[in-house]
Structure formats: C-alpha cells, structure tokens
Point group: C2
Chain length 511, copies 2
Amino acid sequence: MSTAAISPTRAEDFPEWYQQVVRAADLAENSEVRGCMVIKPWGYGLWENMQKQLDIKFKATGHQNAYFPLLIPLSYLEKEAQHAEGFATECAVVTHHRLEAVKQADGTVKMIPTGELAEPFVIRPTSETIIGAAFARWVESYRDLPLLINQWANVMRWEMRPRLFLRTAEFLWQEGHTAHETAEEAIAEAALMHDVYEDFMRNHLAIPVIPGEKSERERFPGALNTLTVEAMVQDRKAIQAGTSHFLGQNFSKAANIEFLGRDNQRHFAWTTSWGVSTRMIGTLIMTHGDDDGVILPPRISPTQIVILPVTPKPDSREAVIDACDALAKTLRTIQYMGEPLRVHVDKRDMAGGAKNWDWIKKGVPLRVEIGPRDITNRSVAVARRDKGPKEKEFIGKEEFIRRADDILDEIQSVLLQRATALRDSNTKKIDNEADFRAFFGTSGDNESKGEISGGFALVNWAGTSEDEERLQKELKVTIRCIPKGDQYAEEGACFLTGKPSHRRVIFAKSY
Amino acid sequence: MSTAAISPTRAEDFPEWYQQVVRAADLAENSEVRGCMVIKPWGYGLWENMQKQLDIKFKATGHQNAYFPLLIPLSYLEKEAQHAEGFATECAVVTHHRLEAVKQADGTVKMIPTGELAEPFVIRPTSETIIGAAFARWVESYRDLPLLINQWANVMRWEMRPRLFLRTAEFLWQEGHTAHETAEEAIAEAALMHDVYEDFMRNHLAIPVIPGEKSERERFPGALNTLTVEAMVQDRKAIQAGTSHFLGQNFSKAANIEFLGRDNQRHFAWTTSWGVSTRMIGTLIMTHGDDDGVILPPRISPTQIVILPVTPKPDSREAVIDACDALAKTLRTIQYMGEPLRVHVDKRDMAGGAKNWDWIKKGVPLRVEIGPRDITNRSVAVARRDKGPKEKEFIGKEEFIRRADDILDEIQSVLLQRATALRDSNTKKIDNEADFRAFFGTSGDNESKGEISGGFALVNWAGTSEDEERLQKELKVTIRCIPKGDQYAEEGACFLTGKPSHRRVIFAKSY
C-alpha cells in the first residue's frame, strides 16, 4: 500500500493521479456546465501570476492590451472559411436574445428562449476574425503599422472529452494579434513571441520546453507557419504549451486589412497571432507534481512561504502567533522578482499534521514552522517542497531571513533541473522504424490508461503528410515540432522512408 | 463658432459631446456586433489601472479571486425565479453547439447551426446562480465561512439602446460574492465594500460620489438592501457607479447554500454581492471632460506624463530625442502611488501642433515639451491638462523632476474639487412639489437631447413605491439614494405627501 498523500500514485495511474492532485490542491473543479470548470482561488492565483509576468514581457516588447467582442457573427466565419480550411466548428451558438418566464401549474417557473436573432453568433473560439475586422477599420496607411495588440479573454470550444485545465470547453487565455507592413516583420514578430514564451516557461514555470516549428499538417488552419513550445510531462507525453503563428496574408484578405504602402499602392497586411492559456496550469502540475501533490515553482506560486504556528499549549499560542506574524512582516519587505515575497501565516484552528499536509498537497515551495521552543532558540524549522515531506532543517531565524530568496531560487532551479533530466532521459535518437515502434509500444490508447511508454523520439524525417497521418493512426504519435537549433541539423536518412533528411524532428504521443 | 477641439461642446449637446470625446480620445468604438464595443488600448489602459487598484483593496480586505463558468443552465435561473422576481430576461441564449459549413453554388460558404442542446444556456448577465451553486458545494460547516470571493469577468445583457461604456450588451466588471454565518456579518461585508467603492472613486477617480441606500423600488431583485455610490456628471444627471447588495438568505435558499451551525443545526448562509464595471470609464469621462476632450485623473491615467520632442530642425533632432528619453528614464525612477511614474515619449513623425492636440484630447495629465533651446536652458515647458490648452510654464528641468509628483497630486485634487463644486452647486434642498417640478423641468426625455436641467434634489420623503413610480413617469426622476451620514437626517415633511419624514433623499434624472 502506498504511503503517499495522493492515490493513485503517478506510476499506478497517471491520468487519475492528475485528477486527484488537482482536487487535493484545491485548484479547480468541474461545474454542472458540461466541460466548463470552476477555477478555485489557489488555481486562479497561479493564473494571475502567469498573467502578470507575461503581461510585463508583452508590454516590454511593445504590445498593448485591448478588448474585443465575445460574440462573432457567422458571416465573419463564412468569409474566413473561404480563405482557409479546417476550422473547428464545435462552438457555442447564440440564437436567441430573450427568456420568457412561464409559471407552471405546480408553481415552478420554466424559462423559454424567445427573440430569435436574424443572424446567430458564436462565442469566440479565437478572435482572428473579429480583431481582423477592427484592424481593417484602424489601418489606412503603412504609418498605422505595425499594430501590436494583445487580449486577455475567455474563449469557448465545445469539447467532448474535457479535462480540468488541459482541455475545457471554456478556458482563459491571451491572444496576441499583430499586423505588419512586410512579411519579414511579421515573421520576426512571430519568432519574438515564440522566444518570449520559451523564456517564460523555462525561467518562470521551470518547464524546459523545446521550441520549434510545427509540420505542415499540424499548423494552425490558415497559418503559413506555426511555432510551438513543447513540454514533456511525467508520463513522457508532449504538451503543446504555446503557439505563435505567421498567418501571411490569409487573414488580412478575409478581413480586408488593406493599407496604402510607401509605393502608393494598396497592399494586404501581414499578420500574426500567438497565445497561451490556462492549459499551462495543467502542464505545470504534470511537469513538477509528485506522489504527495503539486509542486509549485517559487516564481509562480501564489504563496511562496507559508508559516505554520506550532501551538501545543494554549498559553503559548499568542506568543507563537505573534512571532509568526513578525517573521511574515519581515519577509514581506524582501523583494523577489521585483515584488514583495508572498508569505501567508496559516492560523486555522486544525491539527498541525493535517495543516502541514494541506500545504504539501498545494505545493507551496517553503513551509516554515515556529513553536515555543523555536522562539527561545531564535530558530525556525524549514521544509522545502522539493525534498521529502518529513525533511526539515532548523535554521537561525536571522539566517533564514537572509537566505530565504536564495533558498527559493535553489528550489526553482532544482525543479528545472529535474524536469530537464526527465526530458533528456526520455528523449532518444532513433534511426529505424523497428526501434521507433518499440519505443512507443503498440498500445493505441494515449490517454484513458495510465500506461507510460516512449517519450520524445528524435528522428530524421523526410516523410509526407500522409506518412504522418498513418503513424498517428497506428501509434498515436505526431510530429510535435521541428526543433530550433543547430544540434538538430543532422544529416541522415528518414527513419521511415529512407529518403535523405537534413534535420531531426520530435515524434511523441501528446495531450 | 466654437474653437474647442470637440464639436459639439458640452453646452451644445452633451450626449453627442460624449460620443465625440470617446472617439477623439480613441477610447472605444462600436463593433459590428450589436451593442458590443471594442475597448481600444487607451480605454483598456484605464480599465487595467482600475482593476489593479481595486484588486489591491479587495485583497487587503481578505477577498480572493476565482473564475466561474460563462454559461448558466436555464434550470439555475428557474430556481432563482421562484425566490425572487424581476430578473432581466434580455440575455444571450446558447441553443446549439456546432456549425456546419455548407458550400453554396456560388462558391461561398454558409454556416448552419446544428447540434441542438437538450438544455439551453444563457451567457451570464451576473453570476449569483452559478457562484451560489459552487458555494453550496464548498460549504459544509460554519468553519467554512465566510467565503470571500471576487471574479473579474465579462457579462452580457441584451441592451436595446447601447452607449459606449455606459450601457453595452457585453461589458467587463468585477463581481464580489460572499457567504456568511450571520446576517450581521453579511451586512457588515456589504457596508465594507460600499466604503471601498466610495474611497476608490473619490481618491483614485476624483469622483465625489454620494454613498447611500437604494429605495425598495430600486433595489437589486432579491436583495434585502442595495447600497450604491451615485455620481453627478456634467449634465447634472446621476450615474450609479457601483452597488453592494445584502442578499439575506434569498439566494442561499435558491442555491441551497446550507451549513451546519455552531448549534449543530442546518442554516442557510447569508450572502452579499457587489460590483463595478467598465461603466466607471463613462462616468469618469462625463465627470471630468471638457470641450477639448477627456481629462484623466493622474492616479488612473494610462500615461501620466507625455514628453513631446520639439524638433524644428533635423540636425538637432537626435539631441532633443536623447534629452526626452533621458528625462523619461529619470521620471520613471520616481514612485507614484507605489508604482513607477508612467511616462511616454511620443516620437511619432507628425506636426507638433496636431501631436499636442492628440494628447489634450486623450486627457493625459501632464504634457512636457523639450526643444533645442530647452536643452541649452536646462528647462522644460510643462502644460497641465486641467488648465487651458495654450497655458504652459517653463520650469528648470531639475525642479520639474523634483516637483512632478506634487504637480500630479495637484491636478488630482483640482479635478476632485471641480467635480465637487459642480455637484454641490447643482444639489438643492427642496421642500415642496412646485419647486421640485420647476427644478427638473417638465421635459420627459432624459437622454436623447442635450437639455440640461435639475441636478440632485434633496427632499424629505415619506412617499410610497407608487408615488416614486408616478414621479418617474412624469418627470423621469427616481430616488438615486437615501444618503448615508448625519447631515441628511433632517426632520421635515415629505415634499410630496406632507407626511413626517426623518431623512432627506436624493431625486435625480439618471443614466
């Protein structure tokens, strides 16, 4: 029998472990609205920090936030459908604008939709069309370019198999939309935001994503190029954690974003879009969590240090609480990543053991206990979430105050190192089809079972989209990305077709 | 003919002035989606600052943010309708979850809604029902109380006569929802948030709102008490700028928020809700704007100081730009309201006059010009938005750096003083019906025309809801609030019925 706080463990059943961890950490829950989640304060606190830290990077690279309508007229989608194929059509459709309350014989009330709309709307699954329509109004000449806009918003896609954070009908995200005078500028913009995402995930979330390009088959519909950052989580599957698209002129033609150029001719603008979502929270959990619960990187954790008063006897309770409050106050004067340390004193009236486990499951990076004896000794008992649940170190209080930010930095890098080690030890160069098949096993089901196999297969590739499709059907693997960087530029023969290939690509199962 | 930047002027046609000011300041625009606005970067920057500053106050009073589903099942509204009457039923109804793209004979694509839902949903017009359902899951005993939750979100009400910021189908807001063990605690919570709103509007937005209670007739449907903050804008009408409701047990009964009390019995929780929205931006504009455009209080302005390089000759351009950048860099080291000063150098290649007017219309509090001569003199030309468009003061650069935050504070208080003076000079104690009718005039239309009449009538009141309704029909006036504070506790006779009354209330026309 397992002695871990979460049952099942990761090894026993990874998908179920994930559900249990989310619940134990009180991050989110399902609602009665199919596929829509309630993001609870601890989970929303993570999102707030992600927003805040990304937003600083977006503004530092010249972007401004704006807000566009939630509803999209069907006519916009119809125009777009003529310029690009493959758009998701599973979306919420608004057809009426009124409810009529009808009293029933038994005294209850029935609400009947009335006021049918002449033109229905969909709830935005993404906002290229509606933002494109605004850009078309805003741009007249090359002097109005570039337009560098970002929106923080909710979007909705009717998902049939929802999972908290990873795939929900409604989710929160940001969507950047930019328009440029030249293709080169738009390509550079998409690459810049790709770098911003990689930097954020590596240095804030401690997720060593691999940046690269999508294959043609995996591109966003209508995009000329899709850049992605791919994470490997602990069941060795890939998660696409963020994408940045170079859209060419496809969307500007559909939305009519035209400008008078320096040559006095009319041109269509070159556009990009890029986004990350609350899916990052799911990725974070599956990257760092262990069998005792979530482990949060200090830079992103809603609370970085929790202080737990140890009050065995009522008569010392007040002195202990005062010492905890005083320590919290001092710690909050320390700047960490440009903000005061986020410190919480948990004064709830409950058993110390249960309280301690509560914070372990929530993944707070540092737990600090103070009891009557610690006051006498001027010491604190410090437990790091990246170490075992029972390990604690007694440190002089002053020393702890001096070292707190260093300890947090240490935890941050331990998490990044661990995730990098996991990724690297499950990334394998493979040069023939037999090894490739053995690496991934033959089981087709990539989600409902806890089975763990494979990882990232680095292969030379010169196959067609049809070859990709066949591998996906047989092995549930896809090209996650064509990774950026010289180390992947390796001459060789395609592992499947034998044709010459100049780069290795990553194949993996994925969420 | 008017020499002001905005045509018509406020005196000529206030409603049209408002539309033109919003456009000239590039704050927002209508979209093709009926009643839904696009909030442009300058307008969204205002909202971001409002959010940030309110959020600090919410957290300081113990609230946490969370996020709940956008869609509400009709069954929730049906349950609620049995406990309270009068809910708005103009809302967007989602009835289908799929679109089918059908290629037409002419090559165009038609999107057809399919996948009819067994139970339709509405897009949240407010979230009492869906948050109530979550609270019912979360609360078991009195130990789980209070629940102090806030949500930043978009909501939707199908408005027939939309106006940018003031009344739009979709708008952004925050909605606080709390549940408590006792009625007293819930009443105190509603009062606390009422105070937070008043403080925020007075001290951040420079809007001298009057806090008070709504009359029974004007309460939120289902509330036992609605607290409001009422602003007077420059056409002397009232705007309800924020509300805080004590909901009693009405909503907890509908949603079944039950807990085991200290007495070991089951009780329904006592709940509150409170909210402010992007309507505050409209209120801000109509409170402070003048015939040259918007005037923004420094604490809330997206940019507090704009630096305008004056470059008459190309050969001095680089030196001027460098001086501007250097000044901006220095100013940004100054902390104002806990954050670095928000300073922008406008390097756009356009005529100096047009550029200057652009920022006047946008309402930026301080404009600073630097030209070649200013570099020699070590001086800057400073223009305050609260003064005439041509007034500028030459100040030594070092002195300006030293005084910048004081000047901004001065502008902030001038704006509050002006708005207070306007409010006070248009607030009148009235003691009989004839004077009351004369004060408001007889024109019934309270919005489509620019006519300015009345203001706040302070009257002793002991009428009935029917009396209120009659006055509203005849004069388009309502009780805006029963103001808080001893100065309104004045014994007298009701101006309408002659019955004894212990307090004065405020009647006004309103948005």
